[in-house]
């Protein structure tokens, strides 16, 4: 005698159960992808009194006061000009006392010497500066360096920096265009 077939399970409420699970996950999870500006902090200074001797012409001084005013090299400028100013400063200018010194550096990946600017960007902010403004400045600086990397990469390899796949090429571009943003030790620069 054939076995009696088991009665079919009613799957009508399956959708409800799945909905319940779905809503649970919708509520307890977040979708935001964490994005941000990556930076590397410098190691702590061991001897704070010791002045590092940097030639003044090699430094682009950026100051941010508590009223969110931006001052670059002694002049108050709008943030929209900061990127071009930075790029102009970091570009290679031979024998021009208004711009940083130029040296040559040997790049292993290319096997030849390339001219390199000795320029450093120095960023200093007040304790009262708003974080928003600080990020805008950091963003403009990052944009300047990214554009310079892109230009160099197109000049050398004919590809945008983000499109480079060869690790050596990426390394070479990073060596030719180093991101040199130094943040001064905190102190109050006033402006209340």
């Amino acid at each position: 005698m054939a076995k009696k077939a088991a009665p079919e399970i009613n799957a009508g409420s399956m959708a409800d159960i799945a909905f319940l699970l779905l809503i649970f996950f919708l509520v307890t999870t977040t979708m935001d992808v964490d994005t941000g500006i990556m930076r590397k902090l410098p190691p702590p200074v061991e001897n704070p009194d010791e002045d590092v001797d940097v030639n003044q012409r090699n430094v682009l001084k950026i100051l941010l006061n508590s009223r969110n005013d931006l001052m670059v090299d002694g002049k108050r400028i709008d943030i929209s000009l900061l990127k071009d100013k930075t790029k102009d400063f970091m570009a290679i200018h031979y024998d021009n006392p208004d711009y940083p010194e130029v040296t040559t550096r040997f790049i292993d990946e290319l096997g030849k010497d390339v001219p390199a600017s000795k320029g450093v960007i120095s960023l200093k902010n007040d304790r009262g500066t708003s974080y928003d403004m600080y990020i805008q400045v950091q963003n403009e600086l990052a944009r300047a360096f990214n554009e310079m990397k892109n230009e160099k990469s197109i000049e050398l390899f004919g590809l945008k920096y983000t499109a480079l796949l060869d690790k050596n090429q990426i390394k070479a571009v990073n060596k030719i265009v180093p991101v040199r943003v130094s943040e001064a030790e905190p102190e109050d620069i006033g402006g209340n």
């Binding site: 996950f25 930076r39 009262g128």
Partner: protein, 154 residues
């Protein structure tokens, strides 16, 4: 009355809903894969500044978060910017211990790759942020990430 009757009798055939669970399950799996569990309850305002030159945070398991901003419950905690570590408000001095704990929780090989993500509200003053950064420098957590939203280009 016959008019009504005839209408009722015909009706449109019932829609077959047997594949509905499958569709819902598909949605469910999509959300399970593309989202992450919320781990802490953020108790401070979090309206991040916008930026264009942003990078995605890779390997979320190697990221520890520090939340800074004005407390949401201003009646209880005031309007001064506060630092939140895990689920509680903290002081600048607690950061070294927090980083040590975060390091302890990771594999030995991964400890160097640990990134600290600063989730700071845009209205915060830099004073607190600078203090936190100094503290991070002291304990050797040099890799940081200023959490920002993507700016929509016009």
């Amino acid at each position: 009355m016959s008019r009504f009757k005839s209408k009722k009798g015909k009706g449109s055939p019932a829609i077959n809903t047997s594949s509905l669970p499958d569709i819902i399950f598909m949605l469910l799996f999509f959300f399970m894969v593309s989202t992450t569990m919320r781990e802490v309850t953020v108790r401070v305002q979090q309206k991040m500044p916008e930026a264009t030159e942003i990078q995605k945070l890779e390997r979320k398991s190697l990221v520890s978060f520090i939340y800074i901003g004005e407390p949401k419950n201003t009646k209880m905690f005031g309007t001064n910017a506060r630092i939140q570590l895990n689920d509680v408000f903290a002081n600048v001095d607690d950061i070294s211990e927090f980083i040590a704990q975060e390091r302890q929780a990771r594999d030995e090989a991964d400890r160097k790759l640990l990134t600290t993500s600063l989730k700071v509200d845009g209205m915060t003053k830099m004073g607190v942020v600078t203090d936190v950064k100094q503290e991070l420098r002291k304990v050797g957590a040099f890799k940081i990430n200023y959490s920002t939203r993507r700016k929509v280009e016009k």
